[in-house]
């Protein structure tokens, strides 16, 4: 595991505490956020760090998420390292500003404790919040556990602030399951982690009075398209820089930071694709079925935007059937992760049967036996074009 002798400590933390630790270690200049379950403990704990003088951050507590994202966007334009955190309806309230943050190319980083969208009102985990904003120019990274959430925060900051990227990032962690569940988390040394991200070096800043700039001028039919094309290029760059930044982080943690994790996938006949905490449950099922001699495997996407189409195609091309488990609907269309995986496979000469499953909406539990049923179904070749539900009362 940790082959390199770097100072670290292993401590029991919730995912929220681990993310707050990461925020303390990257030393943001400005944090603005509004409380919303299950994100609240992240900023609550971080605010305590600031109040205790452990970090020299301007913590702003405005009256809404719309203001919070506006504040961090403006602070980032002024050259600050600016961060926030939210979930569900809070993220939804930020939506007006999210494409402005990315369109202005400001490297804001937010942790999102993934939670279902209202209505019906629900405080538990699913991915409908981050899936709803997946086309707004934010990098999206999903975390399986508290350890990944902690490390993804550093990846996100360094990736976002890279001069070839300059896009904001969201780090998703499953609400309650990860944000409130306690795990042993390896926390690395403060100085080492701060030096990994370094201080933010903005190329342009509203506070650079020698070189005054206009941020956010009107662009109509004449320039808007070109500016958006640049944003698309930045996303392409992010795909490359993500791996570079991951290699640098590997030097500290001894772990790898691929676009997605492969678990017994290379020789698998059938594979499940699932993100975040459910990938952990799926690994247990893979272990059990492998003991029975069944060739099953898992692909767990971590980087969801930009989406690594080619690499995912390569990783899945040998399989005979694939099941994609989405923790969100895309109403009136195929589920979001399924859509992208199916899209990635289009370039293959052969057509791999692929089945869409929706699970866990509003925090509905998913159990090992249900994931096992999916593998059994895939092995039996029962693939349909119907979008199936796991754990739904039919």
């Amino acid at each position: 595991m940790n082959k390199i002798s770097i100072k670290s400590k292993r401590v029991p933390l919730t995912g929220a505490e681990a993310v707050a630790e990461a925020m303390r270690q990257v030393r943001p200049d400005v944090v603005a956020a509004y409380p919303i379950t299950p994100q609240t403990p992240i900023v609550e704990i971080f605010s305590k760090f600031a109040a205790d003088g452990l970090v020299d951050t301007e913590v702003v507590t405005p009256e809404s998420e719309h203001s919070a994202i506006s504040i961090v966007t403006a602070a980032s334009a002024a050259g600050a390292r600016a961060m926030s955190a939210s979930a569900s309806q809070g993220l939804a309230l930020m939506v007006e500003v999210l494409p402005a943050t990315s369109g202005l190319r400001l490297p804001v980083v937010m942790a999102i404790a993934n939670r279902a969208l209202s209505a019906p009102i629900n405080i538990h985990c699913d991915h409908s919040d981050m899936m709803a904003v997946r086309d707004l120019g934010w990098i999206e990274i999903f975390s399986e556990n508290a350890q990944e959430a902690y490390e993804n925060m550093f990846l996100a900051v360094k990736l976002s602030e890279h001069p070839d990227v300059l896009l904001p990032s969201m780090v998703g962690l499953d609400g309650f399951i990860i944000s409130h569940g306690v795990e042993v988390v390896e926390i690395y040394d403060d100085e080492i982690m701060y030096n990994f991200v370094g201080s933010r070096k903005p190329q342009l800043s509203l506070f650079d009075f020698e070189n005054p700039i206009t941020i956010g001028p009107l662009q109509l039919t004449d320039y808007y398209f070109e500016t958006k094309r640049q944003e698309q290029e930045a996303m392409k760059n992010a795909l490359k820089i993500y791996l570079e930044v991951g290699k640098e982080l590997s030097k500290i943690t001894g772990k790898d930071y691929p676009y997605f994790e492969k678990y017994y996938l290379d020789d698998a006949e059938v594979a499940i694709v699932v993100m975040s905490s459910t990938a952990g449950t799926t690994k247990d099922v893979v272990d059990e079925l492998r003991k029975e001699g069944k060739k099953v495997g898992l692909l767990k996407p971590k980087l969801f935007r930009p989406f690594p189409y080619d690499e995912i195609k390569e990783a899945l091309k040998h399989t005979k059937a694939i099941g994609v488990l989405d923790r969100a609907y895309s109403f009136g269309a195929n589920a979001p992760l399924y859509t992208d995986i199916r899209n990635a496979l289009y370039d293959l000469p052969q057509r791999i049967p692929i089945q869409s499953y929706v699970f866990g909406l509003g925090g509905r539990d998913i159990f090992k036996h249900q994931i096992k049923d999916v593998f059994v179904e895939l092995l039996s070749g029962k693939i349909s074009k119907e979008e199936k539900c796991i754990g739904l009362r039919e």
Partner: protein, 117 residues
């Protein structure tokens, strides 16, 4: 830190500064006078040089200068110091705020007549 260059007309997506950012005061290159359908007519003999129109003008199109000799204005008095000059029609959008706010009615709005070349 880095400077942002002015955008050369017709620049490609690779040439533009990122995020649409421009050098400051780039609005000077944008002649908003072309929007005008009314034009302010300024009568210096009615003006007290109170600066209300100067501050209300949304596009800062009313220039001023310091004149210690003074100019003749309202009630034939001589007004010294900061003096309001003729409206800069390159930028005046003809919104009429100056005429509305002028306490001595020194500004009246008339239909703009554009010369068609």
């Amino acid at each position: 830190m880095n400077k942002v260059n002015k955008v050369k007309p017709g620049a490609t997506w690779k040439e533009l500064p990122i995020g649409g950012t421009l050098p400051a005061a780039s609005a000077l290159d944008y002649k908003t006078g072309a929007w005008r359908s009314f034009v302010p007519k300024f009568d210096p003999n009615q003006c007290t040089h109170c600066m209300i129109c100067v501050h209300y003008c949304p596009v800062m199109a009313i220039p001023t200068e310091i004149n210690e000799n003074g100019v003749k204005g309202w009630k034939d008095k001589i007004y010294k110091g900061v003096i309001r000059l003729e409206t800069n029609l390159d930028y005046c959008t003809g919104c009429g705020v100056c005429a509305e706010e002028c306490p001595t009615k020194a500004i009246t709005m008339e239909r703009e007549t554009w010369e068609v070349k």
